[in-house]
Amino acid sequence: MMRRTIVLLCTVLAACVAVSAVLAQTPPRLVVQAPTEPPGLDLTATPASATAGVVFYNVQEALVKMDRHGKLVPWLAERWHTTDNRNYTFFLKKGVRFHNGRELKAADVKYVFDRAMNPETKHPYPRDYDAIGEIIVRDDYTVTFALKSINANFLHNVARQGSVIYPREAVETLKSHPIGTGPFRFEEWLRGDRIVLARNLDYHVKGLPRLDRVTYRFISDPNAVLAALKAGDMDASLFGLGPEHVQEIQKDSRFQVIVGDTTNDVILAMNNARKPYTDVRVRRAITHGINKQDVLKGAMFGMGKVLGSNVDPLHPYYVDLAGAVPYDPVRARKLLAEAGYPNGFETVLRVAPQYYYTVRSGEVIAENLKKIGVTVKIEQIEWGQWISRVYREADYDLTIIGHAEAWDVKNYANPKYYFRYDSPQFRELFAKSEVTLDDKARRELFVQMQKLMAEEAPVVWLFMHPRLAVTKKGLQGIWKDQPAGAAVVDLSEVGWAAAK
């Protein structure tokens, strides 16, 4: 009798445990770190990467999408068509609804691009739309862009974060309540603490998204992020942890570390308008004087890839020029002597410790350059000062920074850019590449541009900053590489394996 009672009790207990386990199974949710709070959620008002990290791809989408392999694929437009490369007609996907329930129509597309081109709007990237002449609505689902001139980047620009499609009626509130067609709808923004997105039940891609809720928690302190991950308060840090933090968490079996490629090129910029960097021999000497492998080891714990030009490995026309101007201190000294600096010179390197890898890189570089007689004084300045003094006013000798934007060789064709690199030959090549549509010819132009860059050494391309993401084990669908920009994190296909 006693034994039967015990068996019965045990069975009931086991059943209760099983039932409660099923009940306690958490719905698919994700808590993820956001290293900085967005300054607003309107992609047509701010270029901030913190805004793109939350809104782009997740809340708002464009006609064309750059996918995880860097390929442009039809998105809100189910296809496009052009016969003369001047008139592009987009055929919209039918039945796509904004988060406010209204269907996306061709008039919305026209409104969005007309507004972006209007200087009154204060769109952050007005130049992306310079080539557009007229936008003609053919019917509710067909719209034609008539270009003023052939532009090889047109489709690319239509896929950028500034080209997201939103409903006209929501334009005034995009900053605090973005509305789009994305897999998640905006739910809440607790200023200073978090942003919450919820599943879009009406998403136009069937079966997606896989998560019910995404919470972005704003935590900038990497130690606090590590603690939150380890304490189980956070599921993932997809952008914002450095190699020094990842090393530690790699030892913990509860987490997976994703290391991938990005478009973030870390460079040592030289002020080409300031002596002695006006002389190409000095610039080449500096390049020869830096052991990039050492920098990668010292600054990034060996993670990342050494670069030889500003075209990164994710670019379709990438040529590996990492060894084009190799580490060669003897040659560097010779070049310096030829340029009139047989005893080297003193120079100041300004870095912003907000991006700590720049400080570590600077220390290795200063050590390297000492061997060729160049004394580098490292000056740490705050990010706001960096933007004002270095970036806007070009008041610097040397600086280190990562350029995260994809397809950004255009900066080298702009003599007013803070490198002050003024090369008519490069500008000509670049201008040609802008209007060359034939893939083979365009590739050839890009190869020439890369070789010319390596030759003229306007900056020293150090390394590609790797994509470093840490998540709890079992989280799937995260992009390994980031071809669409280093801060862009597409969560539409992300979900937990089996039960979390």
Binding site: P119, K122, P124, K175, R191, G192, D193, S220, A231, G384
Partner: protein, 305 residues
């Protein structure tokens, strides 16, 4: 009058210091990829092109009418931002103050009454440690112990009071402890020396001579008379709690006033920095005023005309 003068001085100082700093809010908002034309348009829209005195007079005029301006970053009224952050920072500061007082006064008393004995030395060593360890470090150690290893409390974040009093308190306990511990370490020393001074007074010897119990001597005759320097130090400490909160709110990812200010400085969100600094300065002025009033209560000889 002194109050108004102090606040005026603070307002000018805050206004100028934040503008002397290199760094332009419009440039920061636009980031690296924004075009110079777009940045210029934004600068104009934010009114940053006007002369400084005009900007100052406009700001002060608004403040007098109760309008602290609009945040550049959030596009919300600064007053509203401050009010939404207070439910985090105020309880945090109060909890920390409670930690500070409950820990420091008994420990200081104990050290003074056990002068030059092992208990005194131990208390002094502990307080020296407390002063030497930076708050962000003790905060991280507390997180490692209580949240990562033991799992008793959350590692950071704050769900708001609407989620319940206990969950909210749980989020605040660790940061309040980290904040209070440091301040307590300072207050222990102040308490000890104040009590030691009073213990050497003639009236203490008289009280002992007439047979008052040691508890009565310490509790009634000594502590009350030692309270004036203790309250003075504690008042200053209360002001410093706010400064400490800036650091700890970052470590514990709390959406408080400190993190609001820190983020605003980084983004050169001038109206927010000005608003928070003015608010904190006003709070400190009020605390000092309260301390002055407390003197009269503690020592009937002090009277305010």
């Amino acid at each position: 009058m002194a109050l108004v003068a102090t606040l005026f001085f603070v307002s000018v100082l805050v206004f100028l210091v934040i503008r002397v700093l290199p760094g332009d809010p419009a440039e920061l908002l636009m980031g690296l990829e924004g075009s110079p034309e777009a940045t210029e348009r934004l600068r104009e829209a934010m009114g940053l092109n006007r002369p400084l005195p005009v900007q100052y007079v406009e700001w002060v005029g608004g403040v007098v009418r109760g309008d602290l301006g609009r945040s550049i970053q959030y596009d919300l009224p600064v007053g509203e931002l401050i009010v939404t952050r207070l439910p985090v920072t105020l309880p945090l500061a109060l909890l920390a103050a409670a930690f500070m007082v409950l820990l420091a006064i008994p420990l200081g008393l104990y050290a003074a009454t056990h002068h030059r004995r092992s208990g005194d030395y131990l208390a002094m060593i502990v307080s020296q440690l407390g002063i030497s360890i930076p708050q962000f470090w003790s905060g991280l150690l507390l997180i490692l112990l209580f949240s990562v290893t033991l799992g008793w409390v959350r590692s950071g974040g704050f769900d708001g009071w609407s989620a319940g009093v206990w969950p909210a308190l749980r989020s605040l306990l660790l940061p309040a402890a980290a904040l209070g511990l440091f301040q307590a370490a300072v207050l222990v020393r102040a308490t000890r020396s104040a009590v030691l001074d009073v213990l050497g007074e003639d009236y203490v010897r008289t009280a002992r001579a007439k047979g008052v119990s040691e508890r009565g001597v310490v509790g009634k005759h000594t502590l009350r008379n030692a309270l004036i320097p203790i309250v003075t130090v504690a008042g200053i400490q209360l002001g410093q709690l706010v400064a400490g909160a800036i650091v700890l709110e970052s470590v514990f990812a709390l959406p408080g006033l400190g993190r609001l200010a820190l983020g605003a400085i980084g983004a050169r969100d001038l109206p927010v920095v000005q608003g928070v600094a003015l608010f904190v300065a006003s709070a400190i002025v009020v605390i000092n005023f309260a301390v002055d009033l407390a003197y009269g209560f503690l020592d009937p000889r002090i009277r305010y005309e």
